[in-house]
């Protein structure tokens, strides 16, 4: 039983990271119908930037302040990066055949990975423990303060994003552009500006997710973004792509499925398959969702895409 609760806790923490990344995918897909393959790499750049700041400035300020400073640096770098990527690689191809932007996105993902490998070297780097990591007992399972903090920060971010999209002027412009860029343009919305804003917000969320991922797992490397990116896309599809609450629900559910799956696959298959098969669950979920319910769990509410 305590394994069950432990895996639920792990799943929730993992799922909230997926949810944050999935929001970036879903917003971009909702507006320009592009799978931004490089989104997972933005997470990686965020984590590595934060690692650099932390290792360089360690000791000059209290740990909690350092964490915030490194997070801010990561967000700024990622936002600038994603803004530039959109401008030079995706914008010129907006009216090209559908495959072209997809290929550029894959090229961009490869490029970012390679550049990160050149800048930060290919080895794994330990991410120092900055936050108090006090373990608590919950029904026999363990949760530490970092994990609690991740859950709280994610919840606050998600609430803030919902407010931004549903209540502010920018949010309305985003929804209008997702609906129909041409008509939105006629109504005084600048689609290019809105798309840039979407990429910047998505990058900020990915940077936050990257820092939390690094803080939770304690190590960073240039390939760390790829699988979370792919899984976050799965989460976005799972919840219904283009749908913000869907991305959140999809992310959390996918995290739960993955950690419960990894925890129980050994028992279920009599030890034939072990927990190193963890990575296949996301894809099985993806295939099942796409064949059984292609519009995703929450459907694609056309009027509410952002």
């Amino acid at each position: 039983m305590d394994i069950f609760i432990q895996q639920i806790i792990n799943g929730l923490v993992l799922g909230s990271v997926y949810a944050l990344v999935a929001l970036g995918y879903t917003m971009v897909y909702g507006i320009i119908n592009l799978i931004n393959f490089a989104h997972g790499e933005v997470l990686m750049v965020g984590a590595l930037t934060s690692w650099t700041v932390v290792t360089e400035l360690r000791g000059t300020m209290p740990d909690w302040l350092l964490m915030i400073v490194s997070l801010a640096a990561a967000i700024v770098v990622c936002a600038a990066l994603n803004f530039t990527i959109e401008k030079i690689a995706y914008r010129p191809l907006r009216n090209a055949p559908r495959l072209a932007p997809l290929i550029t996105a894959m090229g961009m993902s490869l490029l970012l990975q390679t550049l990160a490998m050149i800048i930060w070297k290919p080895n794994y780097k330990p991410y120092p423990i900055l936050l108090p990591s006090e373990p608590f007992n919950v029904f026999g399972a363990v949760i530490n303060t970092t994990q609690i903090l991740i859950l709280v920060v994610t919840a606050i971010t998600l609430a803030g994003l919902m407010y931004l999209v549903n209540k502010t002027k920018l949010g309305r412009a985003m929804r209008a552009t997702a609906e129909n860029p041409r008509v939105a343009g006629l109504m005084g919305v600048k689609p290019d500006m809105v798309i840039s804003a979407t990429f910047v917000i998505g990058a900020a969320l990915a940077a936050l997710a990257g820092v939390m991922y690094a803080a939770n797992y304690g190590s960073v490397q240039h390939t760390m973004g790829f699988l979370p990116g792919l899984k976050a896309f799965t989460a976005a599809v799972f919840g219904g792509i283009g749908n913000l609450p869907g991305a959140m629900v999809g992310g959390v559910l996918l995290g739960l499925i993955e950690s419960l799956g990894a925890g129980y696959i050994g028992v279920l298959t009599g030890g034939v398959l072990g927990s190193h098969y963890q990575d296949i669950f996301a894809f099985i979920v993806l295939i099942l969702v796409l064949t059984l319910r292609p519009q995703g769990l929450l459907g694609e509410r056309v009027a509410d895409r952002a």
Partner: protein, 376 residues
């Protein structure tokens, strides 16, 4: 007519003597050409799926892996050493003749291809891309972990001591002497791969002009219209997946025999992306374009290894050959797509619209490309 024959004869002669010249400068050069030819073979196979049928398959390298591993299992000592029962049945080792091993490997890859295609028939475009990518990863995870509790693939260690291509007593593993001229194995493999590539080109060319090929292109251009015209889109898509996968499987057997060794490392996602890049960069659905793309992406970075040494010392070892290669491929993917979204050498009549609909209607920036239609 006469001119054409002369050109063909000259091309044939050039292809024939290329390795003999390259061999003079060292076997490494022939190896580069060999692996480029393997990539051409892979790209031609993927072109059937992506170029003709318009199904973006990002898990293509998985079939390559299936073919390579099947061949590896059938022609390496792994099975006889791990399972005493099989060892007792084949005391001399499991040296399956290639007449049996290649069709088995190709058949298995084709079957896996159909299996993969079946649940994804309803999907198109991006969704299909991401699902096939997932399938590729699933197969890789299995290959990487199927060493326990029953050791089938030998896990990350891979299979070694795979037999070279052999037909009865004739083997490509050793150099042979022809009129006092020594032909090393790499050159022998060159001729084998060249034959396969030429055969594939003829096959693809015939396919393109057959009813099947036209059905695929109809599906690529407009699936609903194709269905309305009486094309069985389900069977045609499965056929495309199966046929592409068979190509991948055959390439895999060649790779396994050529390297004498397979491990999960060779079948990472980057390789899949690279083959897709070759097909798309060259020109989707256009055989000469695809070959050009494959040759360029496969050989250019290899040649650049010779300047990599200086760069490496200039950058304190950060920029080694492998990294430079990746960097170039990534930059090529982005730059060529930006400059020529239809590829370097697109097919001339490809994607012609009905008369009068040639000029696209002007759209303000920010409009996504047509959503329902898959990529031309």
């Amino acid at each position: 007519m006469k001119n054409k024959l002369v050109v063909f004869a000259l091309c044939g002669l050039a292809l024939f003597i290329t390795p003999l010249i390259a061999q003079y400068f060292g076997n490494a050069w022939v190896r580069i050409i060999d692996s480029a030819l393997l990539y051409v073979l892979l790209a031609l196979g993927l072109n059937i799926v992506v170029g003709y049928a318009g199904l973006l398959d990002l898990g293509y390298i998985a079939f390559y892996a299936v073919g390579a591993y099947m061949f590896g299992l059938l022609s390496s000592p792994h099975l006889t050493e791990t399972f005493p029962a099989i060892g007792a049945m084949f005391p001399n080792g499991l040296h399956t003749p290639i007449i049996l091993a290649i069709p088995l490997a190709a058949g298995l890859a084709g079957a896996v291809g159909v299996l993969l295609g079946a649940p994804t028939l309803k999907l198109r475009g991006d969704y299909l891309a991401i699902v096939t990518l997932g399938f590729g990863e699933i197969i890789r995870v299995f290959i990487n972990n199927l060493d326990a509790p029953v050791n089938i693939t030998n896990g990350p260690k891979g299979l070694s001591q795979i037999d070279p291509m052999h037909l009865g007593k004739l083997t490509m593993g050793k150099a042979i002497d022809v009129f006092g001229f020594t032909i090393p194995p790499v050159t022998l493999y060159y001729y084998l791969f060249l034959l396969l590539v030429l055969g594939s080109v003829v096959l693809c060319y015939r396919l393109e002009r057959s009813r099947i090929g036209r059905a695929w292109m109809a599906i690529r251009e407009d699936e609903i219209a194709a269905k309305a015209m009486g094309i069985n889109t389900r069977n045609m898509k499965l056929l495309a997946f199966g046929m592409g996968a068979t190509f991948g499987g055959v390439s895999g057997t060649m790779f396994a025999a050529f390297q004498n060794f397979v491990s999960p490392e060779s079948f990472a996602l980057n390789e899949s992306v690279m083959v897709v890049a070759m097909v798309v960069l060259g020109g989707l659905g256009h055989i000469p374009g695809v070959i050009l793309g494959a040759l360029l992406l496969a050989s250019l970075p290899e040649v650049l290894r010779y300047v990599a040494g200086d760069l490496q010392s200039m950058t304190e070892g950060r920029l080694d050959a492998a990294i430079l290669r990746q960097l170039l491929i990534a930059l090529a993917m982005i730059a060529i797509m930006l400059a020529r979204p239809r590829g370097l050498w697109p097919s001339p009549e490809h994607g012609k619209a009905a008369p009068g609909a040639q000029a696209p209607t002007p759209v303000p920036p920010g409009i996504p490309a047509d959503v329902t239609r898959s990529a031309p």
